[in-house]
Symmetry: C2
Subunit: 327 residues, 2 copies
Amino acid sequence: MTTIRDVAKKAGVSVATVSRFLNGSGYVSADAAKAVTSAVDELKYELNPVARSLNTKQSNLIGLILPDITNPFFPELARAVEDVALTYGYTVVLCNSDENPEKEKNYLNTLKKKYIAGFIVTSNQLDAPHYANMALPIVALDRAINDKIPTVSSNNREGAAMGTNALLERGCKNILFLRGPNELNPANERYQGFMDAIEASGAKYHVVTCPFHFSESQKITDEFLKAHKEIDGIFASSDVSAAGALKAAVTLGIKVPEQLQIVGFDGIAMGEMLSPGLSTVAQDVYKMGAIATRVLIKRIENQPVDQHFYEVPVQLKLRGTTKGVAE
Amino acid sequence: MTTIRDVAKKAGVSVATVSRFLNGSGYVSADAAKAVTSAVDELKYELNPVARSLNTKQSNLIGLILPDITNPFFPELARAVEDVALTYGYTVVLCNSDENPEKEKNYLNTLKKKYIAGFIVTSNQLDAPHYANMALPIVALDRAINDKIPTVSSNNREGAAMGTNALLERGCKNILFLRGPNELNPANERYQGFMDAIEASGAKYHVVTCPFHFSESQKITDEFLKAHKEIDGIFASSDVSAAGALKAAVTLGIKVPEQLQIVGFDGIAMGEMLSPGLSTVAQDVYKMGAIATRVLIKRIENQPVDQHFYEVPVQLKLRGTTKGVAE
DNA sequence: TGTCGGTGTGTAACCGGTTACACAAAATAT
DNA sequence: ATATTTTGTGTAACCGGTTACACACCGACA
């Protein structure tokens, strides 16, 4: 392995000069620069990032902490983070936290020792002390707004209102809202959005809390639909729940969208694979991940960050579970 | 930050002794051990992994190279890798390669400089020179068997035969096989398995090549079904393709499973969300990832690896797209 | 009693970079 | 012409560990 000393010798300068040239720090004459440049590529020198990390106490690692990559919402996010990180020369460490504070803390500590540059975090624990005391740049994604930590999220409330209105405009008179878990910020915002729209309309509605889990959602919807035949629209706080609702309806022989219209929230790829295709309020997950990563890198590199809170607009995608679109 | 020298001073021994004790290498007396132990926890000393890496030329990083985490097959794999890695004290770096050799090579080099401990790779490029010349432990997943590199994969051929027989046993007389891309090893094995079963049966069949992509599969199936009304069974080489086929059938008004039965391959979570639920040859993706990671870590830690090739059994999951099961 | 092998420990070099500091030459100011 | 900056460079310490090597001590064995 060629070291900086080899390069220095070959170029006839000191290691300090080589280092300064390589980092663009301090003064380096044109002659020295040329000598170093040619020594570097003659020797095919590549800087050792570990040695560098040891004294700069910095690395180009970014930690991505999320509940579970298996949840269909996250792969696209991870992909965006990785893509953007790559273009800036950063490497992504994947951390599945299961929303477990101990696991999160553990990752935080382990990676801090590796001089990780920063974290992108999707968690409900963001107000926990281990985040507050972190001296590292962090950007929060999707959940939990903390005045210390820049956050990127969707326009959940407005999106939920859009989704609800889509049902109302298509004639729904009695809507079931599958509300997400209370602990989740986005779920609460979506609930707000639903309430905004439904109360403005005066339509009848029911709210049922329901985890973002397929079979649970299916079961809950199944029971509810059996007891409430009058329901003609369902707005679910997540696509996975909507898929459960759709399956329940189809299984009960209810015609979608003729008798019952359904709108989900998220815009995950699975939506279009269902029959009929799932109408949904689609988040631009990739964009969220990309923005979060860019903001994080700016923070890491001490560049000014213009905003503290980024809201990415959602988009209504109407497919077969609502009236007026084939498929 | 407390360093090993602080510990040495506190314990009244030399840094060498502390290091030896911490690593369990060389001789350390009981007295010294005790002194170091208490110094360590009085000072809350934590070893600096970067400094260690610099001279051992080893880290506890594992690289996970896969085509695209967005592909529903991979999140569970990534999850398994991460889970197992964590229990052994390793950290996972996520690399989306898009099957692009340049990107792969780039990751390999970048991470090698970081003294990464090893790689788990899903790629078709495994015979490319940049893998052959790697001096690092590698384990291949799902694809490409190379006599140098231990491989973990599913029992694709047998699985495909199982899937095909499931259709035959349920009365299919005219089966469409959606074959996966030629470049993919598993796709070829599945093709073999299909051929094994179909030729033994004497039933009529068609083979159409089709990417593992939803809308493409839907389109191809749609066209094929329009031209071949006699088809009464489809076996797809992936669940995503099967989902496309199902959607095509439903859209054409063909009743599944009454007129047309469908079986997919993979066992991704989406399968049960479809209506009817997708019958499939399920791979134990989590297990594959877990095995691969354990094998890799054994290699990293120079423990003997008993096998060179691991085949994880698949399991037939019958749901609503085949006859005889409700849902 | 002398020698040998196992046990236990410390010193200092080393991993491969960065950078504080000292110093010199050139450019500019007074 | 001298003082002051600015430019340019090298030496050596440092980041925080690991480990080769030298050395000392001990019991055992001939």
